[in-house]
């Protein structure tokens, strides 16, 4: 799968960006002198740090398909210092953990979560995931709905071993808005959780949801053809907007009127923002691939892709990941053709498969979902090893989010986002034993003090309990 150049470009833009004021014309206005600040809500996340830690005698799944039995991994200064065999030494003063053969994996990355946007408790006043006031709302950013005190984050950490996650807007709209990628570290603000340097995503949606939401209001779209027409018209505007700004940036002149919705779409057309397209049906995925080609953008992932197995070849050819469930089915017409072999078949066709949750409970068991999926694959004659299946939980996820250069596998120099499991993580009988994020030990099953409690839970029944 490709890695997008968007990240580097984004960083470059951030470096030169001042907020849209400050022009200092000397003789004549410089072409493209004014730049839009592409990062007005910058990450303030700082790793919490930890002692150098050597985990030895572990079964290591490196997240890229590699496996080391009796392996060792060394975490220093928030990074993975080294991964190796029994001979890997520890620096002076390092904490040494004997894993006793238990599994060490990269932290799980969920590419489809609504934690914070649809938090617990799920009251109407907490319902912040769908700006269902127009089918195209690319101007809204999921990060501005994230309530960092959602108790669901801590469950995903302690029970699920989830170290990073993408928060997406809902699928009521054809263009739902921007997503945000977070480190799963408790913070007072969204910015305090924001994954440094992660590119934005754009949530798009096919199918039943947009046409139901707007069709029931007697608005467009009311049909699937309405969906596509609306999407194309919106992209056509975005292309025009992009042209105007490109021209301004190259040759100057009158500064174009700023449009927040179009800013997001321009970011997509420029390859800086990654499209995550909620789409269930095979025929609709094919349509969206053609729309993307027509307007010159790429789709990073199909979300849910319940029929991805029917078009896995198309997904492979177009470099599109499928973020999938193991076994959800039938809850609406477009999920009627779900099969348990979806992940295995998509993987087997050479496309990029990801296990996702879309659910505050499911996010606590993504490893188990992967286990069900490989088992279904094996029964259908597709043999996928545990170490390869872990790519569905970390490296493929990281690639689809544009953060694979920083996390998603156990390679030297990457963020020390690591889970030590108390058994084989493909078993129902296994739970996280310890979870590190950027080398900081943020969950330890044996230590009640390392069990995060959100503000909401303080003083409530069950505060600080094992959950």
């Amino acid at each position: 799968m490709r890695t997008k150049g968007g990240l580097a470009r984004l960083a470059a833009v951030i470096a030169v960006a001042g907020l849209s004021a400050c022009v200092a014309p000397k003789e004549k206005p410089k072409p493209g002198a004014i730049r839009i600040n592409e990062n007005p809500f910058p990450s303030t996340y700082h790793p919490y740090g930890g002692v150098p830690t050597l985990i030895r005698n572990a079964t290591i799944l490196d997240g890229e398909g590699g496996r080391i039995d009796n392996g060792s991994i060394l975490l220093v200064n928030g990074k993975i210092e080294a991964v190796g065999g029994a001979d890997l030494g520890a620096p002076e003063g390092a904490a040494v953990i004997d894993a006793g053969g238990k599994y060490v994996t990269p932290g799980i990355i969920d590419v489809h979560s609504h934690l914070g946007d649809y938090p617990s408790p799920g009251t109407a006043s907490h319902s912040d995931g769908n700006e269902a006031t127009s089918p195209a709302r690319p101007e809204v950013w999921a990060e501005h709905s994230v309530w960092p005190q959602d108790p669901g984050f801590s469950r995903a950490l302690a029970n699920g071993g989830v170290t990073s996650l993408q928060i997406l807007p809902g699928s009521a709209n054809l263009f739902g808005g921007r997503s945000v990628t977070l480190k799963n570290v408790p913070a007072r603000t969204m910015q305090g959780m924001k994954f440094p340097g992660a590119p934005y995503g754009l949530k798009m949606a096919c199918g039943e949801n947009p046409k139901r939401v707007y069709g029931s209001k007697n608005q467009m779209p009311q049909t699937r053809m309405g969906n596509i027409a609306y999407v194309r018209q919106t992209w056509a505007k975005a292309v025009e907007y992009d042209r105007k700004w490109d021209k301004y940036e190259k040759v100057g002149g009158e500064i174009p009127v700023r449009d927040l919705a179009m800013d997001t779409l321009r970011g997509v057309l420029d390859g800086k923002i990654l499209v995550h397209n909620h789409c269930y049906r095979a025929d609709e995925m094919a349509n969206m691939i053609d729309v993307a080609k027509e307007f010159g953008y790429r789709i990073a992932s199909f979300q849910h892709g319940v029929e991805a197995y029917k078009v896995a070849d198309l997904m492979r050819e177009n470099g599109i990941c499928g973020a999938l469930w193991a076994d959800w089915y039938g809850f609406k017409m477009e999920s009627y053709d779900a099969i348990n072999e979806n992940l295995a078949f998509v993987h087997n066709a050479g496309a990029c498969a990801i296990v996702h949750s879309d659910d505050a409970n499911g996010i606590q068991r993504l490893n188990q979902e992967a286990a069900k999926a490989i088992a279904a694959g094996r029964r259908a004659g597709v043999n996928i090893s545990e170490e390869v299946a872990w790519t569905w939980l970390s490296s493929n996820s990281a690639r689809s989010l544009g953060i694979f250069d920083q996390t998603g596998s156990l390679k030297a120099g990457k963020m020390a986002d690591v889970v030590l499991w108390n058994g084989n993580p493909f078993s129902a009988y296994t739970r996280p034993d310890k979870v590190w994020i950027d080398g900081a030990l943020l969950y330890d099953a044996a230590n009640p003090k390392l069990r995060p409690v959100s503000d909401f839970e303080l003083g409530q029944p069950g505060e600080g309990d094992v959950k």
């Binding site: 408790p121 779900a338 409530q460 959950k467």
Partner: protein, 473 residues
């Protein structure tokens, strides 16, 4: 645009009119089957038995365990390396009521919101034995399910059934096995907006039923203690048709329709189980307290996410609890204390517990109950958590839900005389990589293919062939 909702005949499903016997749809096989050499799980809470034998004859379990003799003429199936268990019982579900939940009007019989009736509603005619959800569940080893109606406008949802998932046209094991009522947040909304209104609505409904049934008002007085509920779950085979006749006089001071009041007569008499959905600790205690005013009520709690905080008092009451296994989020204000240790802690306190899927994709995901049960075994290794033994966890998805609805002598275990619902698994059924290899219901071998497996076979390969995919059958 979707057509406006109208009062449809489906909204009036199953007004009590059955003349059916206790067990309809009993279609047993006369064949004798002996499954040998397997790891045998009885399902009663005991641990698995290595190298056991299970014998099924005339649709019933003859014997299961070590050293069981193989009858002459039996079909012998070697289950070496496999696990043999009773079929999974879905403890609380809507299985068979909906083919598709959203945007497929007509295929979903869970919604009774436009019905003028409530307690009288009976899910029986809505259960479609050919629903794809039933075939999918059967393929994953679920052989029986407790099927509850969904509450419409009233707190009383109506009467639920216990069904089998067999590939035949007789899905109902027990019709009208229980009445289902919403008494927590879900009840408050339907009762007028608050729990205060729920409880008075409930009490009035039972008063009307009592009057219609000609029963006396005999609340406990003063310091009289509520007796622990007896283990025996009652069942009234035949609703009293006279209650519907014009000779059965009613006061003019009534809220319920005659059908609804008549349907609650067995409840107030203690002749029909009342499943009560509550989550919050205080709601649980208030519901248990209803037996002071209505001493004959036979209650089982559904949900009870905060049950562990009042586990001793639930245990003392003797009522069953059918709980979701893995609720651990304060998803609403009635489950702030939710934890995955709820079931383990209740069990340790002596509460009788079974696993169900309460408001958790309950029309189709009952097959994941075994995963949930496995997760409760996992908790035994987590410091501070309360887990279950393997045998107990399995019992909570087999014999315990059967007992909770009064069918412990019929289904849910491999004890002698139980129905011949048997599954041969490729391995440990609570593990994620195991799958059924053979399923019997009432001793009848079941097909294990369904819409999903057929799609799998069609799309194994995406290579272009001589004819389109539609010709691959």
């Amino acid at each position: 645009m979707r057509p406006a909702r109208r009062l449809s005949p489906i909204g009036m499903i199953g007004i009590v009119c059955g003349l059916a016997g206790a067990f309809i749809g009993y279609k047993a096989s006369a064949q004798t089957v002996a499954i040998t050499n397997g790891t045998v799980v009885i399902g009663d809470g005991s641990e698995p038995i290595q190298g056991g034998t299970v014998v099924v004859r005339n649709g019933r379990i003859v014997a299961a365990g070590p050293g069981v003799a193989i009858p002459g003429g039996a079909e012998v199936i070697d289950a070496n390396g496999k696990w043999v268990t009773p079929g999974i019982v879905a403890g609380f579900s809507r299985l068979g009521l909906a083919e598709v939940d959203l945007g497929a009007d007509g295929s979903d019989d869970t919604d009774t919101g436009n019905s003028p009736f409530s307690a009288a509603i009976d899910v029986t005619p809505a259960v479609n034995p050919k629903a794809s959800t039933i075939a999918v569940s059967r393929t994953d080893g679920v052989t029986r399910a407790v099927v509850a109606p969904v509450a419409g406008r009233s707190i009383f949802a109506g009467q639920g059934a216990v069904i089998d998932t067999g590939d035949d046209m007789e899905p109902i094991l027990r019709a009208r096995a229980f009445q289902f009522v919403e008494m927590g947040e879900g009840g408050a909304g339907r009762a007028g907006g608050s729990r205060s209104s729920t409880f008075v609505l409930f009490r009035n409904a039972l008063r009307e039923a009592r009057d219609l049934g000609g029963l006396r008002y005999q609340p406990l007085t003063g310091r009289q203690q509520i007796d622990p509920q007896q283990a025996e779950v009652p069942y009234e085979e035949q609703p009293n048709p006279n209650l519907l006749s014009r000779d059965a006089r009613r006061s003019e001071d009534v809220l319920l329709t005659r059908f609804d009041a008549a349907a609650l007569v067995p409840v107030v008499r203690g002749r029909q189980l009342l499943l009560v959905h509550v989550e919050r600790a205080s709601d649980i205690l208030n519901v248990l307290g209803l037996r002071r005013e209505f001493p004959s009520l036979k209650i089982a709690l559904v949900g009870a996410s905060e049950g562990w905080t009042v586990a001793d008092r639930i245990a003392d009451s003797g009522v069953w609890v059918i709980a979701s296994a893995l609720n651990d989020l304060p998803a609403s204000f009635e489950m702030l204390a939710a934890t995955q240790s709820n079931i383990g802690r209740m069990r340790a306190a002596g509460v009788k517990v079974a696993i169900g899927t309460i408001d958790d994709d309950d029309t189709r995901d009952v097959r994941n109950q075994r995963q949930y049960a496995g997760n409760l075994v996992a908790l035994a290794k987590v410091p501070g958590a309360a887990g279950l033994s393997w045998g107990e966890a399995f019992a909570m998805i087999s014999s315990r839900p059967a007992e909770a609805v009064g069918l412990g002598r019929e289904i849910g275990s491999l004890a002698t005389g139980r129905r011949g619902d048997v599954v041969i698994w490729s391995g440990d059924p609570l593990e994620l990589d195991s799958a059924p290899e053979a399923v019997w219901i009432d001793g009848v071998r079941q097909p294990l293919d369904n819409h999903q497996t057929r799609l799998r076979d069609r799309y194994r390969s995406l290579e272009r062939k001589a004819l389109p995919e539609a010709y691959r059958k």
